[in-house]
């Protein structure tokens, strides 16, 4: 009997594990995708971001600043996953674990000057060629003053 119960619990555990939803990033379609916040069409893919909502919808952003504005307005409860493009490799990386660099002279579609990387080393390497910047983590972006800086 015990063996049967153990088997049932094990199966349930496996089923629950299997049913856990994963949220993969989707490719940008420049013809139709526009930023959820500012309405600009996404033509500079290297700075794009996206949020996969738990209901299966995707919200697309042209700049990490717009993505953060969405987070601020809507909270993170419905967010399944959030991705931003790695500025060095043009690959999707997790918004919450990314390393960010700010320099007011870095160009981004909204000119906020914040770019993302998958590691501190990649960010350091970027700074050696593009100019020194301030390292930021995701939590720092909540208080960041988005806009152009003199």
């Amino acid at each position: 009997m015990k063996k049967w119960l153990m088997s049932i619990f094990l199966c349930c555990g496996v089923l629950v594990g299997c049913s856990e939803k994963t949220y993969e990033p989707r490719e940008i379609v420049s013809e139709t995708d526009v930023c959820k916040i500012c309405n600009m069409s996404i033509v500079h893919n290297a700075y794009a971001g996206q949020i996969a909502l738990k209901n299966g919808d995707y919200e697309i952003f042209d700049d990490i600043g717009c993505l953060m504005e969405y987070m601020k307005a809507n909270g993170e409860d419905e967010v399944g996953a959030a991705y931003i493009k790695d500025a060095a490799k043009n690959e999707w990386i997790d918004v919450f674990n990314a390393v960010y660099v700010y320099n007011k002279d870095y160009w981004t579609p909204m000119n906020y000057g914040v770019v993302a990387f998958n590691s501190k080393e990649a960010a350091q390497e970027w700074m050696t060629t593009e100019g020194e910047g301030r390292l930021l983590a995701y939590k720092d972006l909540h208080d960041f003053k988005w806009g152009i800086h003199k």
Binding site: S30, E31, T32, V34, C38, N39, M40, S41, I42, V43, H44, N45, N111, G147, I148
Partner: protein, 423 residues
Amino acid sequence: MKKIGLALLFFLFMSQTVYADFDVQEAINVAKAGEIVHIPAGRYRGNFIVTKPITLQGEEGTELIGESDKPALRIENTTNVSVENITLSGKSKAIVVSNVDGLELRKLQMKDVHTGVHIQRSKNVRIQEINVTGIEDHYSQKGNGLAVFKSEDITIEGNTIEQVQDGIYVEEVKRIVVQRNKVTSSRYGTHFMYTSDAKALFNTYVHNVTGLMIMMTTDILLENNTIANHFDFNGYGMLLYDVTQAKIKHNTIKNNRTGVAMQKSSTIQIETNDFQMNQTALEGTKVSNDTLASSNNFTGNILTARSDQQGFQLKNNFYDDYSGIDLKDNGIGDIPYVAVSSFGQWMVRQPVYQYFVASPSVLLLTSLDQQINRTEKNMLVDHTPKLVMKHVQEKNKMNVVQMLVGLFLALSSLWLWKRGITE
């Protein structure tokens, strides 16, 4: 016969690749400040640079071809430079200007370039009569026609731009006039970002994704522009995002998906414009209460106005779908015009609903709205709708010459007729 064929082939191919002997860079290097460098007709390959106050003057057939991925012409760290009557081509940017005080670019042709003119940290710049034709590719693979960054006192006038990402891109610029330009087949006709004290006058924007894109900009005047045929899924005649103090006057805005859209904006005056045949003429989300649309003509639009809960003010406009009467005979309808539409509000939240815009169910819903919304007092209500587009008082005029000719002809006819009877 074989020789003739070879000779023809020689001319056919060599005519494309012959370059002139004149050394453009050497001529620039030896020119003294204030001198004019004449560049004779011919094709010159290279990456040329100007760092002194001179004029580069070409003639018909003068072409500078940028090599590799570098600009054809750079103008840097100088004052009072003019460039005129030259064709520029190449894979990269045609002209890059940095730190220049006093620049005039006139009568330049740029074809198949990634970016036409790129100007940064400069002032007192005038760009006139330039033609830019971009490459045939997706907008994301192209650069801008004319782009100005972090500069002051700029005039961009009488240029024709097609097939680029943004026709005229303006970022962090103070005091700029963009006038009498024509931009077609591009992503945005003119794109203002972080700019103040700007004017866009008498421009024509046709068949772009969006005609005028204005973002994070303060104090802008948009007057006498023609903005038509922006009907893509994400197309707008004008889109104002985070804009403060804008005047939109005397523009013709027709056949766009949305004529004028405002988001997060305040103190916008929209007056005396013609909104014709747009899917939605006016749209506002998160706009301040002092945003006012007055004395405009709305004709042939499917939806006149839609907004979020905040709304904006409508005053003294003409609406072709207004069904009120004017018993007082003062040209103003006796009952308010209510532009609120349930379907319009839904379309603000879900743009894909636009595909149902003229369906029978939506027409029925809109008719019901017009009956039910008569009680609406504030949001998207015009209490003084005009009944005619323009009140023109025709005075009695007399053309003396016409009258005398008419009188002469009448008397002559009478006289001939009488003579015919008596004879």
